[in-house]
């Protein structure tokens, strides 16, 4: 019997993972992607040609990025919504790359796992006033085999022997990482020393960056144009290379520049029969399939379901949108930590994930505060630095030249960026803008969002700790922090192009999963409660944001969904060809830190110094807080 045909909407993290697994299981798969195809040759044995380089201008010119002229979004605050303000900003609101491969084409590739407690927040820690906290309908253990498999496909580097016991208790691992860590970045090493002096523990940040040849891709050479840039040498694992490429080789069909406008329903309203879309010439088309997988990202999934008039019997569709509140700690150094040189950051610290239930939480009238994982040791490239100075009031002329010569924010800066957990709120919602239209004539997504007081309190609580780490780093001469509250004040709030949440690329929670159809949009597998054959395979289904970069979890959830759809279990022993390469640790049990560092040294061809062997990896977010 022929397998059911599948349409996948969106070729990013979730869509590509689902397409790969479903194609592998023998389903006919058509992938509709609204963005351009900028990786010619993807899905052919020769592999793609990369028209991306160490070019700081192009990302600002809507190349892989969504063009807000064609596809604007609008936003407003909760307060504005209650005052009847339709929108207070139009333009780029949490835009993700609009291209084959989606956001992961230029992601920072940081791939921490969610922790056990992220899936059971309500039962473990109780409700939060004003937030829509709920348990996920699954557990860490349900997701763990898919985490393993996705990490193997992506080629994630890391070192389980360097991870704190508390981390492994929350996110247990059955295997060592497929690849050893990159050479540790100097800036991260300095901050890691500062952290250690305060009792915190930095370790190599798990990331989908090849530290040696993997899946046909070369090792990273630390060029420094990482987060927000497409890798010119293809050293990063991502949706396009690690999933879509293989799905296409296996016979899946990709249709770029096809914008899906509607899920077409059967008269009974219980089943979808296909989708309507606009093709590259602008003509309206229909495609039929037995199963529809939606993965155009949390904002666009909500928009598409609203445009289709389906999936909202719970009234929750579009609600509970979450970003992350990034909180910065900044260290300024007498010398030059060259924090831009490397894959954004190579270290992480997860001592601030929380929950913190002490006086700071009580003072805010909250049961707890949660922060998140930190990117440790990142910095700025030249043009980004120059544009930041030029964005300050009346800053040009000799002032600008002097600032660049002194280069405080590039040559002398290294920072930490905390991926703070954002509470779900029903009043934070994606709906259809009543007036603004996109190039296809469709209502654009409107994002109504305000931070919860949890985020303000948590940011104010953890920010000084980030700053203390910077201050304690060897050679630091000044330090600071930028809590969310200050940011809101300084930038004019959400909606300003400079505002924090509007500038993140972590978008979650508009079609949350759950057992109860009255309180959730999809079932525990991602299937719409209201429609029998429409599945959601992106960050929309998140019930909580966690304090972790979300993409690994998006991919794991989507893979789990696809395997469920295909009626097959996870692969028992995923084993990409390079996994057993010489020098790799076969198991975690008897391996010492020294052996692990030795493996890393073998892989990178360098003898690591004792200092760096002790602290390992340094990682930090780019200022855009994009990953």
């Amino acid at each position: 019997m022929a397998k059911e045909s599948v349409i996948v909407v969106g070729s990013g993290a979730g869509g590509s993972a689902a397409a790969w697994a479903l194609r592998q299981a023998g389903h006919p798969v058509v992938i509709l992607e609204k963005g351009r195809h900028l990786l010619p040759g993807l899905g052919t044995p020769a592999g793609p040609r990369i028209p991306f380089g160490n070019d700081e201008v192009k990302p600002g010119r809507a190349f892989e990025n969504q063009d807000p002229v064609l596809e604007p979004r609008t936003s407003r605050t909760q307060q504005e919504a209650t005052q009847g303000v339709d929108r207070s900003f139009v333009g780029d609101v949490n835009d993700l790359p609009t291209t084959v491969g989606g956001g992961t084409i230029h992601w920072d590739a940081k791939t921490p796992r969610f922790w056990r407690h992220d899936f059971k927040g309500l039962s473990l820690y109780g409700p939060v006033p004003g937030a829509n906290v709920a348990d996920w309908p699954l557990t860490y253990d349900d997701l763990a085999p898919y985490y393993d498999e996705v990490e193997n496909r992506l080629g994630v580097q890391g070192d389980v022997t360097k991870m704190p016991a508390s981390t492994l208790a929350q996110a247990p691992r059955s295997h060592q990482f497929p690849l050893p860590p990159n050479p540790p970045m100097y800036a991260g090493t300095l901050l890691a020393q500062g952290a250690a002096s305060l009792g915190y523990h930095a370790y190599p940040f798990p990331m989908a960056v090849a530290s040696r040849r993997y899946d046909g891709r070369p090792p990273c050479n630390s060029c420094g144009f990482c987060s927000g840039f497409v890798c010119p040498i293809n050293a990063r694992g991502n949706a396009a290379m690690s999933f879509l490429h293989h799905a296409l080789l296996d016979g899946a069909e990709l249709r770029p520049r096809c914008f899906v406008t509607k899920v077409d329903m059967a008269p009974d309203g219980r089943r979808a029969v296909g989708v309507s879309y606009v093709d590259p010439s602008g003509a309206r088309q229909h495609e039929r399939a037995d199963i529809i997988v939606l993965a155009p990202s949390a904002i666009e999934t909500a928009r598409l379901l609203l445009l289709s008039g389906i999936g909202n019997s719970s009234g929750q569709l579009g609600h509970n949108i979450m970003f992350h509140f990034f909180t910065l700690g900044i260290g300024l150094f007498a010398g030059e930590p060259h924090s831009w040189r490397g894959p954004s950051t190579t270290f992480t610290i997860d001592d601030f994930v929380g929950p913190e239930r002490g006086p700071a939480a009580q003072a805010a009238g909250l049961p707890y505060l949660k922060g998140g994982i930190c990117e440790v040791g990142g910095g700025l490239t030249l043009l980004a630095e120059a544009q930041i100075y030029a964005s300050l009031p009346n800053t040009w002329g000799k002032v600008l030249k002097n600032l660049l010569r002194q280069s405080i924010f590039r040559a002398h800066l290294a920072g930490l960026s905390m991926v703070g957990e954002d509470m779900p709120q029903e009043a934070n919602v994606v709906d259809l803008d009543p007036k603004v239209r996109d190039v296809h004539g469709l209502p654009v997504p409107r994002i109504t969002y305000s931070v919860h007081r949890h985020e303000l309190a948590a940011s104010a609580f953890y920010g000084p700790k980030l700053q203390a780490i910077c201050q304690a780093a060897p050679g630091a001469v000044a330090s600071g922090t930028v809590p969310v509250g200050v940011l809101e004040q300084e930038t004019g709030g959400f909606g300003s192009p400079l505002a924090g949440p509007a500038s993140t690329a972590h978008i979650m929670g508009t079609a949350r999963m759950g057992d109860d159809p009255a309180r959730s949009v999809t079932d525990p597998w991602g299937r719409l409660h209201d429609v029998d054959n429409v599945y959601v395979g992106d960050g929309s289904v998140f019930v909580s944001a966690g304090g972790f970069n979300p993409t690994l979890t998006i991919m794991a959830l989507s893979l789990r969904m696809a395997r469920h759809l295909a009626g097959s279990a996870p692969a028992a022993a995923p084993a990409p060809s390079t996994r057993a390469a010489p020098g790799r640790l076969a198991a975690t049990g008897g391996s010492s830190a020294v052996e692990a560092a030795g493996a890393a040294a073998l892989a990178t061809g360098v003898a690591l110094g004792s200092v760096r062997r002790r602290v390992q990896g340094s990682e930090d977010g780019k200022r855009e807080a994009r990953s």
């Binding site: 900028l38 990369i50 028209p51 991306f52 160490n54 070019d55 201008v57 190349f63 063009d67 064609l70 604007p72 504005e80 139009v90 333009g91 990159n182 050479p183 100097y186 090493t189 050479n221 630390s222 060029c223 420094g224 010119p232 040498i233 010439s281 990034f326 300024l332 007498a334 010398g335 030059e336 930590p337 040189r341 490397g342 030249l382 120059a386 544009q387 930041i388 030029a390 964005s391 300050l392 040009w396 002329g397 030249k401 660049l404 010569r405 002194q406 040559a411 002398h412 603004v436 001469v477 000044a478 930028v482 940011l487 930038t491 192009p497 400079l498 500038s503 360098v606 110094g609 200022r623």
Partner: protein, 280 residues
Amino acid sequence: MVDRRTFLKAAGGLGLLALVPATRVRALLAAAPAPGQAGRFLTAHELDALRTVAGRFIPGPPEDPDPGAVEARAAEAVDLYLAAFTFDPPLIHAGGPFSNRAGATHDDFADFVPLDRLAELGWRIRLEGSQGKPEREFAGPVTGLQEIYRSGLAHLDQRAGGSFAALPGPAQDLILSDQTDSAVQDFVGVALSDVVDATYGPPEYGGNRDLVGWTVNHWPGDTQPRGFTPEQVSNPDPQPATPALSAKAAAAALKFLPALAGRPAAHAAPWAARPGYERG
């Protein structure tokens, strides 16, 4: 580099579009218009005025010891950007993966990437404005960058009571920093960002001539495919490029930290003029 005369001869003999793209871009850069000459979009007078503005934004000798936007030919790069659609493919997105500055033999950056139908529409709206064309006004009329520059430079002349470029530098600065003149500030917001891009971005876009924007700031620019060695990544550089940062200077910089936490403002917000796009 091909000199201007050779370029013109080649362009005349072969037809501009017949040239190999990378060669053509190199030739274009070599043939940048001199003072008093018209640009590809801007008139001679407008280009001279923009050159002057760029020099106030990022001054060079004799005012400043290091090369600035005039030496980088930033105004000429902005003119090329405004005229992007007089080339095919338009000079908007440089190619990849490598320039020829860090170990590769061919300059892929100079092979500009063609736009598709929708991308072209977006860029024509952004550069040329909506011009009353229905297919460009799905969300209302848009003022394009060409018009923003043309009217902005005209406004500077008006403020100067004649030619902005003919005023002394300090008088030019007074006009450019006049916070009470929103027309000036709107123009400064767009032009400063573009001039910064042109001065410190890759030279294939027409600015950063002879890499002056990078060398003066000890910036390596694009380093692929060479990258950095593990030693360069993990250890301090033997010779720091900048003077040691004092605690006092560092402390003074802290008040600007919030600027690090978001993205720089959009270079231009062409949608901002659309009805329904106003704040509130």
